[in-house]
Amino acid sequence: MPTECRFRQLTFVGATLIAMFLSSCGGSSQPTITDESGRKTPAATEARSPSATSSPELTRIRSDSDWFDDITESTGIVFTYRNGAEANQFTILETVGGGVGIFDFDCDRQQDVFCVGGGTIDPGSVTPSGLPCHLFHNIGDFQFKDVTVSGHIPSDTDYSHGCVAGDIDNDGFPDLFVTCYGRSCLMLNCGDGTFIDMTNSAGLADESWSTAAAFGDVDGDGSADLYVTSYTDWSPKSHTPCGNSIDQTIDVCPPQNYNPLPDRLYRNQGNGEFQEVSEEMGIRKDGMGLGVLAADINEDGQVDFFVANDAVANRLYLSSERYSFIETAEVAGVAYNDGGSPEGSMGIDAEDIDGDGLCELWVTNFEMEDNSLFQNQGNGLFQHATAAFGLAGQSRINVGFGTGLHDLDGDSWMDVYVFNGHVLYNNGLTPFRQPAFVFRNLDGRKFADVTGSAGTWFHVPHSARGGAVGDLDGNGMLDLVTSSINEPTAILRNQLPVKNWIRLQLVGRHSSRIPVGARVTVKAFGRSCVRLAKSGSGFLSQSDSRILFAIEPERAEVDVEVAWPSGKYETFRARATATDHVLIEDSGAD
């Protein structure tokens, strides 16, 4: 850790030592309780949310209300992602858009919001320049304070797209990696609520076009390594706009006009430096990556990567025993759609949709393509199941970007949201701004389109790109933050009735501090509910990394099984009444 950062952290820690001690950010003290079998098991650390103690919240029933209420104006979050379209250069750079992050940067147990800045484009030289990212501190009750200007985050980022949070130094404070056209930026969290730019000293000052990123410990050394997707070799020097195929008006060129740039995998050396290991780890060079997900996809306890590529086959990198990857997308059946054709994939996620304990893979796609749900058949094989789940056709007129598999209505089944927006300005056939969707998971069998009751934001078309999901008010229901091109970032409060839940923050000891690749199982509603600890899901965005389970209202306790990336299996007994828990590796029962 650099001296500057260490000094800031020591000052801050001195003032907040006690508070930190028991929280996930610093402490690991664990009480023990006796489970039903009489066995002594360490109890999960409880951290009740403000609303969890508020009984009216738990019993509130609003049957006719929309799922989400757009409360942006009252939150203090005033931000618009800019893509430089005003330069009228019609660059492919403008099409990607930006993401948004939900994470607790100051470990005060309230999820903060990070907005990726985007940039401008010089009308003469077509050179992109970055606009500052913004950090909004959650001060409670859906109120946020813009702490960007007070030096909390580096202000000189290049033209930026995405963000991902990870703890690269295992100090308990989430760090940020912001992807850019040009030099992406590693922002190290100093622990005092500020970040410093560590990109150069970390060896991450690559000047190519980076889009999505995900952290995950790929070599089992307990440090978070970094996967970064790259898009194409477009540059201001080679830029020429294209004619729209319909009426030859000037518009953005398709990605096929450019060459793909190789994705990069960086190994965290554990000393603040990263080393590129793409080639030796088996990362291919022929993608046009826009989305990446790090999670344990094949239930072997290791971190795998699923990469959503635009216009070419998706890639599935499964970890092998020798700390390298085997790319298996074609064999697994996730490279193409059910017609055997590659798709323009953007957003990405993985969760157990059908309740069989295996994680499905999900990507959002370009227009005239269904979004693809790949149902996990076990044995590393997947089945394209979009139609079988009732998701076919509905998105074909739209270009899908931001997405996520989350239990938005608290019924224990993973629902899905999809943000849309075209990449062409003058398509003439389908509009630049497009409506977003919410699909409700009906008991793991099918999805129903509930967009009609999703809320006013969903009733208006947007040029939407990134989206992050998180519980901003700590009431156990997941809220949404959106990032649209040249439109204000929106805060959508989930106003469905609050049910019973538990929420888990995993803290690795042998595994990396944020144990991406862990699998968590809770028995609820008569079945085993599995959730993944993952990184990089969605589109260019960071969602709340805590794992939320809906629990039956009458339940008082639940057993939580955690398969840690280190290979350790543990069971925790947790109180099941709208409660936050911190589960620390090595403190549960084997």
């Binding site: 294209c242 398709p254 096929q256 070419v312 998105s395 074909r396 007129i397 056939l429």
Partner: protein
């Protein structure tokens, strides 16, 4: 006063008559000359018509003789006989003298003055003898005011579709619609153009316009078929169901309609019904490869791997370069544990996918005006590799036209 006026008139009339009679020999001479000239012209025209008729009769049997006759005609008439020029062009075309035919046509000062029916005929013959440029010139000569303009527009559209000149098509279709806004066929042509240019939303909307105007049952059914196909592609399940219901009422469903019904059921998430239906379709039309591929895909999703394998193998026997089916068959074989064969099909899929990617890049470059000879020849080779021989030939011809003329 009236009498004096009458007497005055008679006097002047008499004076004039006297002058006429005095100059009569000169008038008579002029009149005779005029009559002779008209007679000569008339006989010449008669000769031209007669020779043209004679040449026209020789077109099929002895086009070279027709060429000779018409050469004489145009040498006499100059460019004043556009119909003769058109006929001469036709004769040259019939004689296989394509360059001369094109040259002959381009000698005409005002081809629009030629008979428009004959220009249509010339266009047809030019198309038949593989000379699209002459056909285009001929059709374009039919002026916008002509009653034959709609026919010419339709043929120009068809011609541009054949030659892959996509950008020229849309304005023609739009002009046709302006000329015949209440004609269902004009809308149909526009819809087909939109569909061929992948403007599927617009095409679907235009087919709806066709249906508003079309009263003939067969043509309504045809429009509904197209609309159904588009709505299924667009994922518009509710509208597609309405179209299918209407189509079912007015016409028996063809195999393609039934396959669209299966795809619609799939869109609706009715996988079991889709499976039942595709079984019926394949039973009726076992050699329909689209039906087999659709059943294979559904069988695979149900885990009926043997059926899926048989269907995909059947498709590949007929379409060995179908890269998507290679991928699908590989997926089935992997689930059946036959990794060796699966690998072969994956490799073939990869090879064909790479070729397709090359094609896309080359086509994009060509569309941007970078249609270099080497690029077009590479593109032709790529099309050859995926079995699209006609496209390959067309591209090679285009490349040959780009060869610079020797100085």
């Amino acid at each position: 006063m009236a009498a004096s006026r009458n007497s005055g008139k008679s006097r002047s009339q008499r004076t004039m008559n006297r002058q006429v009679f005095r100059r009569w020999p000169r008038f008579a001479g002029l009149l005779a000359l005029l009559i002779i000239l008209v007679s000569v012209w008339w006989s010449k025209q008669d000769d031209i018509a007669s020779v043209c008729q004679q040449a026209g009769a020789l077109l099929a049997t002895n086009p070279n003789r027709a060429v000779l006759l018409l050469e004489q005609v145009v040498s006499v008439s100059g460019t004043d006989a556009p119909d003769a020029y058109v006929l001469w062009t036709r004769a040259l075309l019939a004689a296989g003298r394509h360059s001369e035919a094109l040259g002959c046509f381009s000698l005409m000062n005002n081809p629009s003055a030629a008979d428009h029916k004959m220009l249509l005929l010339l266009a047809d013959e030019a198309v038949a003898s593989g000379d699209p440029l002459l056909a285009r010139f001929s059709l374009e000569a039919i002026s916008p005011e002509s009653v034959d303009r709609p026919t010419a527009l339709q043929r120009l559209i068809s011609l541009n579709q054949q030659t892959g000149n996509a950008t020229a098509i849309m304005p023609l279709a739009q002009e046709l619609l302006i000329l015949q806004p209440d004609n269902a066929n004009s809308w149909r042509v526009l819809a087909q153009v939109q569909e061929s240019q992948q403007e599927l939303h617009a095409a679907a909307a235009t087919f709806q316009e066709v249906l508003k105007r079309e009263r003939v049952t067969d043509r309504r059914a045809s429009a509904l078929r197209s609309l159904l196909r588009l709505q299924v592609l667009l994922g518009e399940r509710t509208d597609a169901r309405i179209s299918l219901d209407e189509l079912t009422k007015i016409a028996p469903l063809k195999t393609t309609d039934q396959i669209n019904e299966v795809l619609l059921l799939k869109l609706e998430g009715e996988m079991e019904q889709a499976w039942m239906k595709i079984g019926e379709v394949v039973a009726q039309s076992p050699t329909n490869m689209l039906a087999r591929e659709t059943r294979g895909t559904l069988a695979f999703s149900r885990g009926e791997n043997n059926t899926a394998r048989k269907d995909f193998e059947a498709v590949l026997r007929v379409e060995p370069l179908n890269k998507q089916v290679h991928y699908k068959l590989a997926q089935v074989l992997l689930r059946m544990g036959n990794t060796d064969d699966a690998r072969k099909h994956l490799q073939e899929n990869r090879r064909l996918t790479e070729i397709s990617a090359d094609i896309l890049k080359l086509e994009t470059a060509a569309a941007e005006g970078k249609a270099e000879i080497n690029r077009l020849n590479k593109l032709a080779t790529a099309y050859d590799q995926i079995g699209q021989k006609e496209t390959a030939t067309r591209l090679r011809e285009a490349a040959s036209r780009l060869v610079p003329v020797a100085q």
